[in-house]
């Protein structure tokens, strides 16, 4: 009797392990249109009303916890932010001067420089779920294909790029954040040279990304500097278009050590958006809409 029970237990364990491994292999090797992916999307669709309801009901709990977390975080940031304000004030003066000059020159070449975000037909969505693991940096939003959302469309939040749409259902979508290990973004440092590279996440650190493959720095010429803004490069190479339109802020250079630049051609970037506490985002449903048109006078 005891032997039979032990044997039954072992058989069940082996069967469950085998089922997990079969699922893993079939899912990992399968295309997005495979039956397993389809079933997964169906389950997400079925559960989405429950998720939305739970998100609404539990929002006070999140808000209270967020308030405590933000308060402690804010206290620790006071000194750092004061220094930042001083630096940004001087940068603002320079930027205002440059903006004035830019406006004058644009008028001369009849440049329609209304490249605001409304050109990309943004759809505002509430975040209903966050993935809790360190490995999958995804969020779920309450807008889907019924609202014009499609796979690979860029998503912004807190005024900066936060990720791209990876899965779409009629009423909900899943967004892969820029800190997910499978997301890469062509990005540009807003310095005098406009150095361009590939922005990749540093797995395990949601507050840091690496801008790799930067041009080799020439002695005597400064490379990217601490605090400089990093934006999407929005390249276009033949029929290939970047997923992200040009000029969307991503973050700031947080570490530009000469060693790292010379040896690895990379700098560290901290995302501008607080990716762990997103509550509202915007999906750019028309990311390749022409935003700037120039005419030769």
């Amino acid at each position: 009797m005891h032997d039979k029970r032990v044997r039954r237990r072992r058989v069940a364990l082996v069967a469950l392990v085998a089922a997990s491994l079969i699922l893993l292999t079939a899912y990992f090797g399968g295309p997005p249109s495979s039956p397993l992916h389809t079933i997964q999307r169906g389950i997400v669709q079925i559960f989405s009303p429950i998720q939305q309801g739970a998100s609404t009901v539990l929002s006070p709990v999140r808000d209270i916890a967020g308030w405590f977390s933000d308060t402690f975080h804010a206290r620790s940031q006071v000194t750092q932010l004061r220094k930042k304000v001083e630096r940004l004030t001087s940068e603002l003066a320079q930027a205002q001067e440059a903006q004035l000059l830019n406006r004058q020159l644009s008028r001369e070449v009849h440049l329609d420089a209304t490249d605001n975000i409304s050109h990309y037909k943004p759809v505002t969505a509430d975040v209903i779920w966050h993935d809790p693991t360190l490995w999958y940096q995804t969020i779920e939003i309450d807008k889907g294909s019924d609202d014009g959302v499609q796979v690979d469309q860029p998503v912004i939040g807190d005024g900066a790029l936060v990720g791209k749409v990876s899965t779409v259902d009629p009423t909900v979508s899943v967004v892969q954040l820029i800190t997910d290990h499978s997301v890469n973004v062509a990005a540009q440092v807003q310095d005098k040279k406009g150095d361009t590279g590939l922005l990749v996440p540093a797995v395990g650190n949601p507050n840091e990304m690496l801008l790799q493959d930067l041009p080799r720095i020439v002695p005597g010429q400064p490379g990217p500097q601490l605090g400089q803004l990093v934006v999407t490069a929005g390249y276009k190479s033949g029929p290939l278009n970047s997923l992200y339109p040009r000029g969307i802020p991503i973050g700031q250079v947080s570490n530009a050590s000469a060693n790292n630049l010379i040896n690895n051609n990379q700098v560290q970037v901290s995302p501008a958006a607080d990716l762990r506490h997103l509550s509202v985002v915007q999906v750019l449903t028309s990311p390749h809409a022409p935003a700037i048109r120039a005419q030769v006078p």
């Binding site: 491994l21 079969i22 899912y27 809790p132 996440p201 650190n205």
Partner: protein, 201 residues
């Protein structure tokens, strides 16, 4: 309704509620940059309370639910959680975990298995991005936070399954020794009756 059906229903409900609360609220509350993960603790608690078979099946089901709802690679979380459920069930069956702090140690171990196992599987499947050294720190902090909340989570799971669990380890601890054979000094007063007053002088 039979005891078994009652237990299955409660386990399904427990898994659903745990996943919803985890992803709609707990995952957005960060402490030292990470958030708690109650799912390994729930699976561990079920294993400790119900045994290895129930723990393994619960782990597989809960893991599959997490993978399905969070659009993750199917099979990874279910594999890890079924090992946690089975292992914690075996701890109950072999070691008789009647001490009050067993869920704390088991919670730490379960979280370590979930976090380290997830990292190992991700490396096996291929990671395209560089890995920060901070990952180790984040895994450690998650284990620490989960260890702190493992006792309340265990208490909630035990309360949820009360009446449907085959045998509660805590009840077993308090149970009197009825089959005999242990030290005759144990409960001597009851075995031999009260001593006569004359013998006490």
């Amino acid at each position: 309704m039979s005891l078994r059906t009652n237990l299955i229903l409660r386990l399904v409900l427990l898994a659903l509620v745990a996943v919803v609360i985890q992803d709609a609220a707990i995952s957005q509350i960060t402490l030292f940059g990470v958030s708690a993960d109650v799912m390994p603790l729930v699976v561990m608690s079920v294993g400790l309370l119900c045994g290895s078979m129930t723990g393994a099946v619960m782990g597989f089901g809960a893991g599959l639910l997490v993978d399905l709802l969070l659009v993750q690679t199917l099979g990874i979380t279910s594999l890890l959680y079924l090992l946690i459920g089975y292992w914690s069930g075996r701890v109950r069956e072999l070691r008789d975990p009647s001490h009050g702090l067993v869920p704390v140690a088991a919670g730490a171990a379960a979280t370590a298995v979930a976090q380290v196992g997830m990292a190992m599987l991700q490396f096996l499947l291929g990671v395209n991005a560089p890995v920060s050294g901070l990952l180790v720190q984040q895994i450690f902090v998650t284990i620490l936070i989960n260890t702190l909340i493992s006792l309340p989570v265990y208490a909630i799971v035990r309360r949820t399954l009360r009446g449907a669990v085959p045998e509660d380890p805590r009840r077993r601890r308090g149970r009197r020794y009825t089959t005999g054979g242990l030290s005759p000094l144990h409960q001597s007063g009851e075995r031999f009756g009260p001593l006569p007053r004359s013998d006490l002088k």
